[in-house]
């Protein structure tokens, strides 16, 4: 399967329609996998939004969020590490 090395999961809470639009824009220019809600079309102001982006796009995404004054949190820094950590390493 594909490597998830360097992929990040972000959390943002868009404060208004303008910030929702920024997420829509983001989803239109790069592949964004929405974890919560299920799709960008479901995003509304004040909703907690978790999404995954490709490794090579993560800095671009951070820049876009910063430029637009959107507060964000990196929930998962490196998805591959989280993926490996889901298994109990003592027995595998």
């Amino acid at each position: 399967g594909p490597s998830f090395d360097g992929q990040k999961v972000f959390r943002v809470v868009p404060q208004n329609d303008e910030q929702v639009e920024i997420l829509n824009f983001l989803a239109s220019i790069t592949e964004v996998d929405f974890w919560q809600p299920d799709s960008v079309t479901l995003v509304r102001p004040k909703m907690q939004v978790d999404f995954r982006v490709e490794a090579e796009k993560s800095f671009e995404v951070e820049d876009l969020l910063k430029e637009n004054g959107m507060e964000y949190q990196v929930l998962i820094e490196n998805l591959q590490a989280a993926l490996d950590a889901q298994f109990d390493s003592r027995t595998r």
Binding site: G1, P2, W35, Q36, D38, D50, L83, Q86, F87
Partner: protein, 307 residues
């Protein structure tokens, strides 16, 4: 069953073998049937649990709608284990199995689940081909005939929330729906187990309208969430899907409710984002333990309020 473990994530072959094994080892409590085949031809195994008896009412529970939500199938396996291990010891479980049947579908979206083990851990939808596009799969929880594809779903096959070409266009959702329709006179509750964000939802999701027994459902959800939190203090939010999270049509819980199953709930299990869909195996046991408390509460309520 070789390789199977209740506190590890099991691949589909292991789960399939386990369904045969658990039925063979507990013939007085568990039987296995096939309710259909997936798009890729895999048999969909359903476990019927309960002490033999005629005219028993039943509770239907499914897991694994979304392929990457691995904790969900883990819970269905855990539930079956607890049932067979505590029957005759735990008074609540014994009463439940004496007086009710449980239909447990351990994995709904089997092809997708296999794909997450073999190709892409983050896959979510089914694996059916969509005409006129290279995009694969339908969101099975947007594929039911409950306000189908009206709100909160996509008509684009490339979308993660694609509602499919028609209601029940997916072999998996059709098989599930057919089974429930065929057993509608006995199924009194429907539970569907998802995996993200600690929610206990009930109808409706496709409309802001509240169901006729809203007060009752809300009170059950409140009590079940309290039961769940009693073990590890895990904080669940509960309420109707549309107002608690967002409008989304085509969900199985709404569909089951509209079929006349008045106790219909969706669980979104542990984790609010720290691990997302990658909940470590060390959390399978506590997650399943706490969820079991809520499921037993709901089942017991249903038993005391049969209709």
């Amino acid at each position: 069953t070789g390789g199977h473990s209740y506190d590890k994530y099991n691949n589909w072959d292991t789960i399939a073998a386990w369904t045969a094994d658990i039925a063979a080892q507990n013939p007085d409590l568990v039987s296995r049937t096939v309710i259909g085949k997936t798009y890729e031809g895999r048999p969909m195994y359903l476990l019927k649990m309960g002490k033999s008896g005629s005219d028993k009412k039943a509770i239907f529970m499914d897991c694994g709608f979304h392929a990457r939500e691995w904790i969900s199938p883990a819970f269905c396996q855990w539930f079956v284990k607890e049932a067979v291990e505590t029957y005759g010891k735990d008074t609540v479980m014994t009463t439940l199995l004496d007086k009710l049947d449980f239909y447990v579908l351990p994995v709904v979206n089997i092809d997708g689940y296999v794909y997450t083990w073999t190709n892409d851990r983050m896959w979510r939808k089914t694996r059916s081909k969509n005409a006129g596009t290279t995009c694969i799969g339908t969101d099975p929880n947007r594929n039911f005939n409950a306000g189908w594809c009206t709100v909160g779903a996509s008509k684009s096959p490339c979308s993660s929330t694609y509602c499919g070409s028609a209601p029940e266009s997916e072999k998996e959702t059709k098989a599930l729906a057919d089974f429930i329709r065929e057993h509608l006179s006995t199924i009194k509750a429907y539970l569907t187990i998802h995996s993200y964000s600690q929610l206990l939802l009930f109808p409706y999701s496709y409309t802001y309208n509240l169901p006729p027994n809203y007060q009752e459902l809300n009170s059950i959800a409140r009590a079940a969430s309290k039961e769940l939190a009693s073990l590890y203090n895990t904080d669940y939010t509960y309420g109707p899907g549309a107002t608690t999270i967002y409008l989304a049509a085509g969900g199985s819980d709404d569909w089951a409710y509209d079929q006349g199953i008045k106790y219909s709930f969706t669980f979104e299990l542990r984790d609010t984002g720290r691990y997302g869909f990658l909940l470590p195996e060390s959390q399978i046991k506590p997650t399943c333990e706490e969820t079991l408390l809520a499921v037993k509460y709901i089942a017991n309520y249903v038993l005391e309020h049969l209709y």
